[in-house]
Symmetry: C2
Subunit: 503 residues, 2 copies
């Protein structure tokens, strides 16, 4: 018999873990009136036209036409409810969750002088001020990897942090603060060990003083191509500068550190109807273990949690944090409105194929990755946290843009839950991939690091997979293990969030 999963006892729909043929028993005395594809919703009772479809105990929407018990409910049959009002939220009413105790108390990381978080990798990160220099920089980095890196066995990699920003942009526009802050903070990601290597052109808008403190702007840290006599000399100068930086990075060693020095990012992408009952809750459990042990955990993706803002507001430690959360949500509502769309622009064809009816259902599943801990801070895109614990780092939901923003916020390891499957990875931080369905793990055995699908098939539970994921995080953070994306060097581009105009 194919298991059919109901998340909350108030739900009037459930989802089968594999295709459920017409005539099969679904449980609760319900028989499928038609084939119900894996992850899609079967009605557990007659639901009339206008009736609420309830999953996670929440109305996902209202039916445009009635559906009988045992019928299939798809995204086209639902009217989206209004998004929750931001003006009447209650804050700090659900902040006493007891967090599980971590089975391990420390990890091995690279300390960075003066920085709150330690690195999980020892990487030379090279930041261009402007896309113009990317061609020269890419060529030089290729040469550095070939000629220099083998001589520095304690350095993990050399990474060009290319981005499309820096010139041809309205650098003084109000929203230009977002991309500038993001680049400024990526440069300071702990995985780069506090070494600053900035490569500029010489006539760009993003001048070094917008990225660096006055005392950081010196020839040892900043190289401008226009000051060098042609391509060959530019490359030579880049090689020399890199060698000086590598020499310093080479001396670094991992030390045993408390979890308060670890900053982990949570993200999901290519989600399906299982994401919210397997991979994301398991990640949430791992997050609770981390937060309970003193770590900082970021969760993000504004449009994917907007419909669960009431739950998040209740978990904000105080109303000041709650108001910051609301500010970020309001900003995004307005940003979408100005572009002629709303939150319904979020779900993808893959989400829908995976059984997610709309953004409300997606949000309920997405929030699960934040566990039950109280929210200690809310950040604007690319900001760095000032408090530890669970932090809502507002970012777009685009995987690459979220990853880029979290790198700026100090994340040194990311956990990525996926239902449909994506080969996503980052050059600047290891990414652990968690599948929501075991079919995906079977299909992509060399790309998925942890399978949470076993929760749906009954072979395991959220707590067990959550603890397994926590241990995987510690292994990867400590450099004892490399996840698939890191092994295969599957690295996505730095994708910057720039809500300001380009010129």
């Amino acid at each position: 018999m194919i298991p059919v999963i109901r998340v909350d006892e108030r739900d009037n729909v459930a989802i089968p873990v594999a295709d459920l043929p017409e005539g099969s028993e679904a449980g609760w005395g319900v028989v499928a009136r038609e084939q119900i594809p894996q992850g899609h919703k079967i009605a557990l009772e007659d639901i009339p036209e206008g009736g609420a479809v309830i999953r996670y105990g929440v109305a996902l929407g209202h039916l445009l036409a009635g559906v009988p018990q045992g019928g299939l409910i798809t995204e086209k049959m639902l009217r989206l409810p209004d998004s929750p009002d931001l003006d009447s939220l209650e804050f700090a009413t659900d902040i006493d969750a007891e967090l599980p105790e971590a089975p391990v108390k420390s990890f091995e990381g690279f300390e960075v002088e003066g920085a709150p978080f330690a690195g999980t990798r020892n990487i030379l990160g090279i930041m261009p001020t402007v896309q113009c220099v990317a061609g020269v920089l890419n060529g030089a980095v290729k040469r550095m990897r070939r000629e220099l890196l083998p001589r520095f066995p304690h350095v993990d990699d050399i990474v060009a942090l290319n981005h499309p920003y820096g010139c041809g942009v309205a650098i003084d526009a109000p929203e230009a603060a977002v991309p500038i802050r993001t680049l400024r903070n990526i440069l300071r990601n702990p995985n780069f060990g506090g070494e600053i290597m900035v490569v500029g052109l010489g006539c760009e808008k993003l001048t070094a003083d917008r990225l660096l403190e006055p005392e950081e702007i010196r020839p040892g840290n900043v190289l401008m191509l226009q000051e060098h006599a042609g391509f060959v000399k530019m490359t030579d100068a880049l090689m020399e500068m890199a060698e000086r930086k590598l020499r310093r990075l080479e001396d670094r060693r991992r030390t045993t550190l408390p979890f308060s020095r670890l900053c982990v990012g949570m993200q999901c992408g290519g989600s399906d109807a299982f994401s919210g009952i397997t991979a994301n809750p398991a990640a949430g459990y791992a997050s609770d273990l981390l937060v309970g042990a003193g770590a900082t955990v970021l969760f993000s993706e504004v449009t994917e949690v907007r419909d669960g803002v009431e739950q998040l507001a209740a978990r904000c430690v105080n109303s000041a944090v709650g108001r910051r959360l609301v500010e970020e949500m309001r900003w995004y509502d307005e940003y979408l409105r100005a572009g002629g769309v709303d939150r319904s622009a979020n779900p993808t064809p893959g989400n829908k194929k995976g059984g997610l009816a709309n953004i409300v259902e997606k949000a309920m599943g997405s929030i699960a990755k934040s566990g039950r801990a109280p929210i200690s801070e809310a950040l604007a895109p690319g900001e760095r946290p000032s408090a530890g614990g669970l932090v809502f780092a507002a970012t777009p939901a685009s995987d690459m843009v979220c990853g880029t923003c979290q790198l700026a916020s100090g994340m040194t390891l990311q956990v990525f839950m996926t239902g449909r499957g994506t080969p996503y990875g980052l050059a600047a931080a290891p990414v652990i991939k968690v599948s929501s369905r075991s079919n995906l793990k079977d299909m992509w055995s060399d790309l998925i690091d942890v399978d949470a699908g076993v929760i749906a098939s009954g072979g395991s539970d959220i707590r067990t997979v959550g603890e397994q994921l926590f241990r995987e995080i510690v292994e990867v953070a400590s450099g004892r293990k490399r996840p698939a994306a890191e092994r295969y060097r599957l690295f996505n581009d730095i994708c910057l969030f720039n809500p300001a105009p380009i010129t």
Copy 2:
């Protein structure tokens, strides 16, 4: 004596071709009252507070305080005039310019079946539908270059056309048409020989049907990673697909073609006060030679020509084209306004250091690259031309974004004028770099292909350098010569113009 250049007899300022020391004679009976840096403006008469500063016969702005004859005028001393009104333009009043006759009548290009333009290179271009697949695709392309390319000596290169678009975007937003059209048309750039190789994930928003015609969507052209069992199999499938495409590309040969089959893009970046009197007018002369011989020439960069819209309107072949031009300008005015800025956001610190006071002065210099030919068409960003001749292809002025949009419009070779110097280049089309000052050519001898600075120092003239540039274009287009950026593989990223929100 240091030459000092006055562009138009109405001008009340001029610029020295090298630093002009205090007390030196500038010509016209004027003596420098202070040091005038290279390319900066010296007042040729007393100009009172509020008086117009005139260069190119046009008021660049009005003085905030009076400047005596021989004094230095910098950008901070000028008030920007209002931008020209778009509602009262006269069209088609200056369309009878006589174009010079080209000394050569044909080039050697790669014909593409059914396409108006021929390729200047024979490249396998691989288009991802979404950034998610970039990691896998980059790894595969590295292997293709190593294992496959040497077996296909008639193929110039294999290029992954990675971009940040495809998912996590508001794909149905009104302005999403811009990035989608751009990608759709880049795929069809003649340098890719009509071969279609699209790599998708399987759950993204930018589905294959948004990029391809129904008959183009088949397994031979489109590969979805989610349909392949893991990383190793994905890479194998990409290798196989590439080999099939390479086999077809390998059979192509150059043939002698009329210029009507050539589409050249003009662009400038890192401009200075010489750009408008040396490199850009020389490019304009080359453009007139090309247009006169039947070629299509694109010029772009809306914010850099906005202040010269009256000149452009007069050169539109008819009022229909004029109205399209105005529509594009109006769209950009509104786009900037919505982002809280205006056209004054365009000039860079490098422009100002190079002597360009503001966007009016920059515009007068920028327009020079379009020569004197009438404007036969005006395109939205990323659109393909339907007429030949001189085409205004509206794009942002950002070098990489303009390059990306011009590739979509069918450009197969770009001419790039620079004053301050940039190592800019494109993987998909050769880029010829022209310096506005001989100092730059001396400094960057291995990066600049043509020096137009000799026009300012008196060693040559616009016509001679323009014809030299025309011959260089023909040599590069015909594959007999490779410009510096191509030789050194200095390739910038595909930087997509996406005025719509991301989610």
